[in-house]
């Protein structure tokens, strides 16, 4: 197989061609037919089996014939081939005769795989979620809901079969788990069944950080050490969603350091979410973290006479359309519930707001204007 195809692209092709929401997809499957064993590139086993062949030889005809004989032998009725070029007339006729569907890989190249939060309005505003391979920031004051939102991100992944990892830098795991248990977001269940890992940073890393701060050792060594170990965890446990809550304790007040650290966190097929409280800027503690992440979700709240008014907005989301209209939300025992913003989001979906550079419009987070907009 020469084409670099991911499962999500295949899911999309299956849903386009067969109108099935495929979840059980296996790669390189051998099936015993009546006569002999046959190997298929992918097999989808939701309901009736679908066999998938990826065509890569210049002469597709013989590949199609062999594929078809395998299908016959194994009694598989539904099948599809994936090709990254135009097939010639004979091949097209052959495929029609055999009733094999064709997916053109090129039309799925830019199919954007995204990891959602499972919070309808938020996912809509993000146009389905966050992209794997990139690092996102959830920022907000203490009590704004950063931990809740990022934990929701992990449970949503776990519900969809994606393993998650929560890295705690400032709380004890016991304490965190006891707190998150009280919330009905499915986190605890998935933690118990091994879909979500909870880890904390060691004391040694704190002393190593002091060495770097005292310039006893090179900061690159520190980053290399942390990032390598983190990725070792991610890879050996096949984790797809990572949260570092909060990232501040792993950072140092140096632009170069923060730049290298955040850029290094990105990993193929993995979405990394870091959280940060506010100090130097409206988004972060050191005031530069926001520059190096792919996107930002900003959480805010205001204490009012009747209680607390929470809002969430997306000021930056590189390389993807998004909606930056603020959404009001509540944190309840059921997790995060968006209570307004629906209308605006739907209206705005038709004209995506595509930011291609990393400029952050600071006016957006001006508290006064924000609430004026809401009330008005």
């Amino acid at each position: 197989m020469a084409l670099n195809i991911n499962i999500n692209q295949i899911k999309k092709m299956i849903s386009d061609k067969f109108s099935i929401n495929a979840s059980d997809i296996n790669k390189d499957v051998e099936i015993q037919g009546n006569i002999m064993k046959h190997k298929f590139d992918y097999i989808v086993s939701n309901g009736e089996k679908i066999a998938i062949k990826i065509v890569d030889a210049t002469d597709a005809t013989s590949e199609i014939i062999i594929f078809h004989s395998g299908l016959e032998d194994c009694n598989i009725n539904n099948s599809m081939i994936i090709a990254d070029r135009e097939l010639n007339d004979n091949d097209v006729k052959l495929l029609k005769a055999y009733n094999i569907k064709v997916a053109d890989y090129r039309s799925y190249l830019n199919f954007d795989v995204k990891y959602g939060f499972g919070i309808k309005d938020l996912d809509m505003a993000l146009y389905n979620g966050l992209r794997p391979g990139f690092v996102y920031l959830i920022s907000g004051k203490s009590g704004a809901g950063k931990t809740t939102l990022s934990s929701t991100f992990l449970s949503e992944g776990a519900k969809n079969g994606q393993k998650g990892m929560m890295i705690l830098t400032d709380t004890f795991p016991e304490e965190y788990i006891n707190n998150i248990k009280t919330m009905d977001i499915g986190f605890y269940e998935n933690y118990k069944n091994g879909m979500i890992d909870v880890i904390e940073i060691s004391d040694q890393i704190r002393s190593m950080k002091i060495d770097v701060l005292n310039q006893k050792t090179d900061f690159r060594k520190f980053i290399t050490k942390i990032v390598s170990e983190l990725k070792k965890f991610i890879m050996s446990k096949e984790i797809k969603r990572v949260v570092i809550d909060p990232v501040t304790l792993l950072l140092m007040p140096s632009d170069d350091y923060i730049n290298l650290f955040i850029n290094s966190l990105g990993m193929k097929d993995v979405t990394t979410v870091i959280t940060s409280s506010l100090r130097a800027s409206d988004f972060s503690v050191f005031g530069v973290e926001e520059n190096y992440v792919t996107g930002i979700i900003k959480l805010e709240y205001k204490l009012t006479d009747t209680g607390i008014e929470r809002t969430m907005r997306i000021p930056k989301m590189r390389g993807s359309p998004f909606n930056s209209v603020p959404m009001k939300f509540n944190i309840t025992s059921g997790g995060i519930e968006i209570i307004s913003g629906n209308l605006n989001v739907n209206k705005d979906l038709s004209k995506p707001n595509l930011y291609e550079n990393n400029t952050v419009n600071h006016n957006l987070v001006d508290n006064n204007s924000l609430f004026k907009e809401f009330k008005g």
Partner: protein, 501 residues
């Protein structure tokens, strides 16, 4: 400072001349005295050349190096870079950790090739992880050409990329290693490779590891910077990125020598290429922590370098096209591992003195004029260069001590190279503490020096005092032998960052 170094050469020649004069014209002394004098002054000349070359390197490093690496602007790198990781019978856990680091810190920019020559069952695990990383896994059954053979096999049959990075399995690149180095190759077409320092991060594991890092310091902070300016840089086998087309021109890596890196560099230099040294700590490695591992490493380096001497003479020193400064540098490089013989000479001096075997000179004053300022200048410049580069004073001591402690190794390596004896290939990560009898030569010498110096002090006299002082000093430098051969502690580099709850 280079004026000082230049002047040391003058002092040495005064000494040599006076000895020669004493032997030939005045016929002082016995045959033993003659041989001893010859030996003594050749040792002095040897260290004179070494220091001259060192000082020139320091000068280049200080005044010229800075401008050579400033243009690290990145044009492009994607799909151009191959990372080659040769592995041979490693501890699978360590291999996995470091492979993961190599993978995670280079993956977005480069293609990973794992060259596994292992003959034990570690291969199974390495293959497994290699598949997970989507790396190209190449397993050879015969180990023809050892590391160079493995690299060549990959280069000739698999690697399509334009640039080739070689990383040993005990090295962890930082996330910006590839990005920072490739720009330099892109911008300098005459450069065959870019070398970054080997930096040992586990120096807290043992005194030996710390001493090894001190030795790296002198090499990577001073010598290589100077060599890079001059064009006499050789690659160090790991933490290096080569231009594949340049390697092609010299028939890839040289499989004939234990130090394939230096040998290949000599071949590249003869083809008119040069190497560039990029002094930024972008790769983090591990020093040998056990005496056996350290000796293995030093043995391989010494034996390889000494075996390479004839080629350096033929290809560079005896060629007209190279400048004098280039020749001085290569002369110093190629002869360096002979150092044991000359240290032995200095170690023997106080001992021979009590038997009244002395260096022949016209008279003691000429000896003092020739030798004392020379020694003082040498020590002074050696310390100053370290201080200037920000080394702790401990490193100065370690660097003076390291070679003295290793003198028997240098001698035995020289003999095996001459006798063409082969030793099985071993890496620096094997072995443990060595039995104490292996350090018998050092201990015997220490006892003898201490006795001789005490006798000389007792006997008195200016000449005796100078020699005795020298004896005590060398005794002090040999003392680390007792702290180096110990079982290592766990390094903070190996502490876990995260705890699974």
């Amino acid at each position: 400072m280079n004026i000082l170094t230049g002047s040391t050469m003058v002092f040495i020649f005064i000494g040599i001349f006076s000895s020669f004069y004493a032997v030939m014209i005045l016929h002082h002394g016995t045959v033993v005295d003659d041989i001893f004098s010859l030996f003594f002054w050749s040792a002095t000349l040897f260290f004179g050349i070494q220091s001259l070359s060192f000082m020139l390197a320091f000068r280049r490093s200080k005044y010229k190096y800075g401008t050579t690496t400033s243009n690290s602007f990145i044009k492009s790198y994607r799909e151009k870079i191959a990372i080659l990781v040769p592995i041979y019978n490693e501890d699978p856990d360590m291999a996995m950790t470091n492979l993961m680091a190599i993978y995670s810190n280079t993956d977005s920019l480069a293609t990973l090739y794992i060259l596994d020559d292992s003959t034990n069952d570690s291969s199974v695990k390495i293959k497994e992880i290699s598949d997970k990383m989507n790396a190209t896994y190449i397993h050879r059954i015969d180990r023809t050409g050892y590391k160079a053979g493995a690299l060549n096999n990959a280069l000739k049959n698999f690697v399509k990329e334009e640039y080739v990075t070689v990383l040993d399995i005990d090295q962890m690149p930082s996330p910006d290693f590839v990005r920072e180095t490739v720009g330099l190759l892109d911008n300098n077409p005459g450069v065959a490779f870019v070398q970054v320092p080997q930096y040992y991060t586990n120096t807290d594991a043992s005194a030996l590891a710390e001493m090894a890092e001190a030795q790296q310091f002198i090499f990577y902070e001073i010598l290589t910077e100077g060599k890079s300016v001059l064009g006499s840089l050789f690659s160090c086998g790991t933490n290096v990125i080569y231009r594949k087309s340049a390697l092609e021109k010299v028939g890839y890596f040289d499989e004939t020598n234990l130090v394939e890196d230096i040998t290949t560099s000599v071949n590249l230099v003869s083809k008119g290429y040069k190497g560039l040294y990029y002094n930024k700590k972008l790769v983090f490695g591990r020093a040998p922590t056990t005496m056996e591992g350290y000796i293995n490493q030093q043995w391989r380096w010494s034996a390889g370098s000494l075996a390479l001497m004839p080629r350096i003479f033929k290809r560079i020193l005896l060629q007209r096209k190279y400048s004098l400064k280039m020749k001085i540098d290569w002369l110093a490089t190629s002869t360096w591992y002979l150092f044991g013989w000359f240290y032995l000479m200095f170690l023997l001096a106080p001992i021979l003195d009590i038997f009244h075997v002395r260096i022949l000179v016209m008279n003691p004053y000429v000896y003092l004029v020739a030798w004392v300022p020379y020694t003082i200048i040498l020590m002074f410049t050696f310390i100053m260069t370290h201080v200037d580069k920000g080394a702790p004073l401990k490193y100065v001591f370690y660097n003076m001590a390291a070679n003295l402690v290793l003198f028997p190794l240098s001698i035995s390596v020289t003999l095996s190279v001459i006798l063409k004896k082969k030793k099985p290939f071993t890496t620096a990560r094997t072995g443990g503490k060595l039995p104490w009898y292996k350090f018998l030569p050092q201990m015997v010498i220490m006892a003898a020096i201490l006795t001789a110096s005490s006798i000389l002090t007792y006997e008195g006299g200016f000449y005796n005092y100078v020699t005795a002082f020298w004896g005590y000093f060398q005794f002090l430098l040999l003392t680390p032998v007792f702290i180096l051969n110990r079982t290592p502690r766990e390094s903070s580099m190996d502490y876990p960052v995260f705890k699974d709850y």
